[in-house]
Every structure is written in structure tokens, then in C-alpha cells.
């Protein structure tokens, strides 16, 4: 087992406006257990506010869970340092306009990731590495001194993916990586992610609200509702025989094109 979470739970305080007293708690993730095998794509679906992003952030280490455990290659994640964890799990973000620092050049952004992975590396080697990464994600290699604002959303997302790849991770958490892109670009980015999966046998946790994407990509689907994982299974199972009413509703909300033969 590559990654396993057990009974993760996270709640956020609700503060009163006036005195900032905690008047209650919202449970964002409740009792979430999941497991991910090598080379597997796990689809995490649910409406907004269902806790899927929070769960992703807990796994990647951005949010500390209130309780529960995470095991990475059968070892408790607490035994990993931040850097060791970074070499295993990386993330691709939803908004490619916010996920790259506007003040750093593309070369600097990627070099930073490479240098975190390999402490001692010569300048020429580093440039070679950066070019290799840009090649992998289908970007031209003469953009090292360009800045993020010079690129389109899809190109920035590719750069974001290159940054994650620089760490040679085993798991990539993709948090709605295509939802802010044009439909034509979406397919390109999804195919790129699939290519990379085959090349490096990376496992994905793919967070999305778009069911058509998740049925296309995922080997296994988890449906989240109000912080709980209410249903899981293979895409064809869930699609054809949903056990939970909510899942059924979710899948029925997909726009359908029906043909009527006159």
C-alpha cells in the first residue's frame, strides 16, 4: 500500500463576529479513510464544501488533522520530515494564475524545486534538468527567464505540473487541475497527466466535481458528502449501480445529451 489514511477528522471553528469567540465547529472532514496503490488514480468527487479539498490538503501536509493517521509506504507520516514528505507527495493546484509566484521567473520556480530535491547540483546540470522537465510537460525550453504572466492558463498549469514533477513524487494530488481551463485545454492537460502516470507510474488523488472527468480518469472513486466518504467503488459500479441516494442524485445531475429519433 502506497498511501493509507485512517479516520482522518478535521473541523474548523466558527467564530462570533463581535468577540471572536468560538461558537461552534464545522466538520470539514469526518472519519475519512482511503487507500491508494502504486500507479492508481483515485477520484475524489463531491459538491463544493464536501471536504474533498480539505482532505487533499491534509494528505499533502498543508493542514494538520485533528485526529486520525496517515501512512506512507506503511510508515506513519509523522516519521517523515517536511522534505522527505515533499519528495513523495506533490500537488497540482486549481488556479494556475495563483499557483505560480508572479515575481519569480519560470527558471527560478523550477530551480527551487530541483534544488530542494538534490542539494548539490551544478548550474549547468540544473539548466539541463529544467529543460528536461519543460520537455516532459510539452513546453518550449527557451522560457527560463520569462515570467508567469506571459503564459496562458493551460501553459501555466503545465509549468505547475513540471514543478511537481521536479520532486519526482510518487503521489500527485490534483485539486481540480482543469476546472479553470478552457474545455479544449482540459483534455490536453488530462492526457498529459495520464502520460506522466504511465511514464513514471505516479499515483494520483484526483479531486474534482466534474463526474465526466473522474469516470474517464479514475480507477477507483470516492464520493464525499458533508465531510464523509459516503460511497466508494469502481467507476462502472458507481455509475451503474449507485448505492447511496446522494451519489445517484450527483450522477443524475450530469447534463445528458439525448437523441430522439423522429
Amino acid at each position: 500500500m502506497l498511501l493509507e489514511t485512517k479516520n482522518l477528522r478535521k473541523s474548523f471553528p466558527i467564530e462570533s463576529k463581535l468577540l471572536r469567540q468560538v461558537i461552534g465547529r464545522v466538520i470539514a472532514v469526518d472519519n475519512a479513510s482511503l487507500s491508494l496503490n502504486k500507479g492508481q488514480v483515485l477520484g475524489l468527487v463531491g459538491e463544493s464544501g464536501s471536504g474533498k479539498t480539505t482532505l487533499g490538503k491534509i494528505v499533502v501536509g498543508l493542514i494538520e488533522p485533528d485526529s486520525g493517521e496517515i501512512f506512507l509506504q506503511d510508515k506513519n507520516i509523522k516519521n517523515f520530515t517536511r522534505k522527505e514528505r515533499a519528495k513523495k507527495i506533490q500537488m497540482v493546484f486549481q488556479d494556475p494564475f495563483a499557483s505560480l509566484n508572479p515575481r519569480l521567473s519560470i527558471g527560478t520556480i523550477l530551480a527551487e524545486a530541483i534544488r530542494t530535491r538534490e542539494q548539490v547540483i551544478g548550474n549547468r546540470q540544473q539548466v539541463e534538468k529544467i529543460k528536461e522537465l519543460l520537455n516532459l510537460v510539452g513546453m518550449p525550453t527557451n522560457i527560463l527567464s520569462d515570467y508567469p504572466h506571459q503564459f496562458s492558463g493551460g501553459q501555466r498549469q503545465r509549468i505547475g505540473i513540471a514543478r511537481a514533477l521536479a520532486m519526482q513524487p510518487e503521489i500527485i494530488i490534483a485539486d481540480e487541475p482543469v476546472s479553470s481551463l478552457d474545455v479544449s485545454i482540459q483534455a490536453q492537460i488530462l492526457n498529459l497527466l495520464l502520460d506522466l502516470k504511465q511514464k513514471f507510474s505516479i499515483s494520483y488523488i484526483f479531486i474534482t466535481h466534474d463526474l465526466s472527468i473522474v469516470t474517464f480518469l479514475a480507477d477507483y472513486i470516492l464520493v464525499m458528502y458533508q465531510g464523509n466518504i459516503i460511497e466508494e467503488g469502481k467507476p462502472e459500479e458507481i455509475l451503474t449501480k449507485p448505492k447511496d441516494k446522494y451519489t445517484e442524485k450527483l450522477f443524475n445531475s450530469l447534463p445528458k445529451i439525448t437523441c430522439q429519433i423522429l
Partner: protein
Amino acid sequence: MWKIYWRRLKRNKLALSGLSIILFLTILAIFAPLLTPYNPLEQNLLARLSSPSKEHWFGTDDLGRDVFSRIIYGTRISLTVGFVAIGIAIIIGTIIGLISGYFAKKIDLILMRFVDIMLCFPAFFLILMVIAFLEPNIYNVMIVIGLTSWPGLARLVRGECLSIKEREFISAAKILGLSTIRILFVHILPNVLAPVLVSATLGVGSAILIESGLSFLGLGVQPPTPSWGNILTSGKDYIYLAWWLSVFPGLAILITVLAYNLLGEGLRDIFDPRTFEG
């Protein structure tokens, strides 16, 4: 990004005029010995309190010293005090602001209450009080102005930091396992620099004003070293007899502070994303 700002600066007349005045003053300060007709400390008791003339453009003071030369040398003091004091303020204000904004919670609460306390005191009286305990000289003046000018900057940086740390590229940096120091100084700092620059530019003007005020009261730069403030002091006693002793240093202060304010206001427009058209 900075290329765009430079293009916008070239189009902004107010900022450009402020910048040219400041550059002009800086050149005056650097080349003071070459530009002044007299030694600013040289007394000529035969030519005491002579009015502006061909020999003495801005007249002479009660000891027969050339006011023009003294004002040019005074530029050195004023600009140095302005830059060094604000430099100190920027360093302290930025570090405190970044720490406060990034770590939030208790650290933020403590640091910001301290900032509130600092802001409660009228700055000038605080400086007067501190200077009264220390020896009044230019170094103490610079340090004390610097040490009292940072709270506003700290608050500004904190606010910016609070909003920037929520952006996804900061999450990305954390996930890469970068150190907190690197996140603060490589990822957040360059993004808060624009408002800091505006505020610092305006701050230089007020630092120069404070220095002049202190020197006027005899607590800043000590005579015979010329500073705009202490030239004014010597003019005070002869205000009915020798108007040039008060008017010229006063104008020098006015023009310099105005130049910094123009540049500061101009930079504010230049960095304003709402007026961003490329």
C-alpha cells in the same frame, strides 16, 4: 513587471518631477565641495549678515558664513538622515510585519499591540524624549528616527502578508518543503515591496522634516556642522534683519519634502493594480 512600472513612471509627470528633484539634490550633496563657492564653516566677520548678492547668492549669516554653501552641505545631512533612518525603519518594519502576518495568532497579537502602543505616542515627542537622554548628534538622530518610524510600515507589510500567504503559490512552496525563511523572503517579500516602496518614499520626506525640527531645537545636528534645521535656528534671531537666513533653508526643506511626496504619490498610482493598463 518592473519594466511595466518603469514605463508607467516615465508617463507620470508628478512622479518624474519628484524623481528629478531628488536626483538633482543627490548630485548636489555628492559634489558639494565642487559646487560651493565658500567653505561652509569659514567665517568672514567683515561680511556679517550681508544680503543676497553676486558674491553670496543666499547672503551670509551672523558669523559671515556663506548661506548658499551651508545649505548645499546641509543637503548631505538631510538626505543621509532621510535614507538611513528610513532604511532602518524598512528593515525593522518589514521583518516585524512579515513575522506578524505569516505566523498570525499569538505572535501577531503581541507584535501588533506593541505597534499600537508605538503609534499611540506622538512620534516627535517620543524622539525628543529619547534624544534628551542620549547625546544629540546626527547618528543618534538617524537611529532614533529609524526606530520610531517602523510601526506604520510593519502594519502595512502585515496586511499584505496576510493576503499573500493565502495564495496558492505559498501553499506550493510549503509543499515543496521550502524553509520558512525562504518562503518569507523569496516568495512573500518581493510581493509586498511595491507598497513598502511607496510608504518609504513618503517616509523619507517626514524623516527629513523631523531631522530639521530636531536640529532647529538644537537636539539634532550640532553647530557648526550645517544642517537646514540649525541654519533656521540662527535665522530666528535675525528674522526682521536678515530674511534670507530663514527663507532659503525653509525653501530647501519645502522643495525636498515636496519632491519625496510627489514621488511617493506617483509611485502609489504606478503600483496601483486598478489603474493597470500595461
